[in-house]
């Protein structure tokens, strides 16, 4: 079992733990903000007199903390860990990772302060003010140094699917951020073109950055835990290139029915349909996760199912006939939660459950907290997405009927928004327990004279619920 903990694990634990801990603190922060935003949806008087905590700002704060705080930090940590492990040597340029992480998190903090003071941009997934984006860009580049050196200097020339997705995420985020910054902030395009660029960025942030970060974890952990080769692996490269080439073209689906040239949504419809090939390949390759045990695989299999359902729903709602019923309702929010929480976050949770005992050399502090986190997270996500979908169905029916006053629509959706609030409470509780367990486990390495506790193979995995 000694071979399971590689030199990368022990020698690169500090930057990786810094990234992961930062991510978890942002996860709890964003959970609290998301809970407040959901509360304000059905009880708008809550903090209505406090300008920095009105609904528009709180929802932008929650989204920014979640994407740039939690997903970015945790995704980068796992991407670096995977690239380092596959390179066959300890991660290099670790000081650059530490510096980059520090400045990244300072920039995210600055972004939240800016958003709270009213500088939110209003663009989906890019609510952070323009003045922090250059710092984010440079910090990301500093963190990426280590990953790209591990990628380019790998001892074995063969590259695996987890390699491709991790390296793609490292390479592509600076590209999409620089284009979005220049075209929306430095030298902004005008009028409807802004909506096109913003839609493109939002979709690329998902398809070319966050999804590859999650998939790289899944492609790495699933064969490791199951101990089997990935089935139909020869298709994995096709699936990867399909995502890279087609993923960026799906942004127009957000603009369906808008005042944009008709070819933009049409291309998005075709791209969404083509992207189903990628989704099919992912499902084909990773279907082994449904037969394995352990909490890491449970999270990852949930993430894969959410990813597949999300892609199918994206394709379906890109058609005009369906979008007529789903646009401008809570359905968009449900789709976003399914992708960001249901797919990306659960895959990262799975990756952390697999990686942390190897990074620290210690087993998870509490099996009970692991089980509680699994139940609360998966239950919370299901409840959140289901309640938002039900609210969107009612909202869509009411919006289609001109006789229904707006106040009645709010009243009809009220019970489902209460359910969404309960789901956010559950998710926040799960995040708190996970963070506590993580901190407790990470603190075990402070006692360096303590015997390593990971030798029994069963201790390497989080306890099976």
């Amino acid at each position: 079992m000694k071979a399971e903990v590689t030199s990368t694990d022990s020698s690169s634990r500090h930057p990786l733990l810094f990234l992961l801990l930062s991510g978890l603190l942002w996860l709890v922060t964003s959970g609290a903000l998301a809970l407040l935003a959901t509360l304000q949806l059905h009880s708008p008087r809550i903090l209505a007199d406090c300008p920095i905590l009105t609904y528009g700002r709180v929802s932008a704060l929650a989204e920014t903390a979640f994407v740039y705080g939690w997903l970015a930090n945790a995704g980068l940590a796992l991407a670096l860990w995977i690239l380092g492990r596959l390179s066959g040597e300890p991660l290099r340029a670790q000081n650059w990772v530490l510096t980059g992480t520090l400045f990244w998190n300072l920039a995210v903090t600055g972004a939240l302060v800016g958003v709270a003071l009213g500088d939110a941009t209003g663009f989906p997934l890019l609510g952070l003010p323009g003045y922090v984006q250059l710092i984010l860009f440079l910090s990301y580049s500093a963190i990426a140094v280590s990953g790209l050196l591990a990628w380019s200097g790998r001892l074995r020339q063969v590259a695996y699917a987890s390699h491709w997705y991790a390296a793609a995420a490292l390479f592509l985020f600076p590209w999409i951020l620089s284009i979005a910054h220049v075209m929306l902030f430095s030298a902004p395009v005008r009028g409807v073109e802004q909506a096109i660029v913003a839609g493109w960025y939002a979709q690329c942030a998902w398809t070319l950055w966050l999804a590859p970060l999650g998939l790289s974890v899944a492609y790495y952990v699933v064969p490791k835990v199951t101990g089997k080769l990935l089935p139909s692996y020869e298709f994995a490269s096709l699936g990867f290139w399909c995502l890279i080439l087609v993923g960026g073209l799906t942004g127009g689906r957000h603009l369906l029915g808008g005042p944009v040239p008709a070819w933009i949504p049409s291309v998005a419809v075709v791209a969404c349909a083509l992207l189903l090939f990628h989704t099919f390949v992912v499902l084909l390759n990773l279907r082994g996760c449904f037969s394995g045990g352990g909490v890491a695989l449970k999270f990852i299999s949930f993430g894969i199912v959410a990813y597949v359902i999300g892609a199918l729903v994206d394709a379906l709602t890109s058609f005009h006939g369906v979008a007529v019923h789903t646009q401008f309702t809570y359905f968009d929010e449900a789709q976003k939660q399914l992708a960001l929480y249901g797919a990306a976050t659960t895959m990262l949770f799975g990756g952390i459950y697999y990686a942390l005992p190897r990074i620290t050399g210690k087993a998870w502090l509490s099996g009970g907290l692991v089980r509680a986190h699994l139940v609360l997270s998966l239950g919370g996500i299901l409840l959140l997405v289901a309640s938002l979908v039900m609210a969107s169905i009612i909202q869509s029916q009411d919006l289609s009927d001109p006789k229904v006053p707006f106040g009645d629509i709010a009243r009809h959706t009220h019970p489902w928004l209460l359910a969404a609030t309960a789901a956010q409470c559950v998710l926040l509780l799960g995040s708190l327990l996970f963070t506590l367990n993580f901190i407790g486990t990470a603190c075990r390495i402070l006692n360096v004279s303590q015997a390593a506790t990971f030798n029994p193979s069963s201790a390497m995995e989080a306890p099976t619920p």
Binding site: S11, A93, F137, S141, V145, S178, H181, V182
Partner: protein, 111 residues
């Protein structure tokens, strides 16, 4: 049992780090280089085609600025000096302050 000392990572040259930053910055530079020069001008900065002669002043920001300055100068002259507007009809221009006094006198406001 204590943990074995972790192996040290290989050192990294500054050139390699600079190369990564240059690679990342290339995206930014490329976007600026390709997009900014070809960016469509704002509607107020666009030169309209086929303007009639009396509307020629609308052509560019410079001509609009010149027209505005000329207009303000003419207005300042008209509102501050005496002169004939139409000698035949007996219409004159006079400074605004004097015109205001005359209006007040005409309507019996002066005591």
């Amino acid at each position: 049992m204590t943990e074995e000392p972790a192996p040290l990572p290989r050192p990294v040259s500054l050139v390699a780090i600079a190369a990564v930053f240059i690679l990342m910055s290339a995206y930014w530079a490329l976007t600026v280089r390709v997009y900014v020069p070809h960016r469509a001008p704002a509607p107020q900065n666009q030169t309209p085609d086929n303007l009639p002669k009396d509307q020629a002043w609308r052509a560019t920001p410079a001509t609009r600025r010149a027209y505005l300055e000329d207009l303000r100068q003419r207005e300042a002259t008209q509102s501050g000096k005496y002169g004939w507007v139409d000698r035949k009809a007996g219409v004159v221009q006079l400074p605004i302050e004097r015109a205001m006094e005359l209006i007040v006198q005409e309507h019996g406001g002066a005591k």
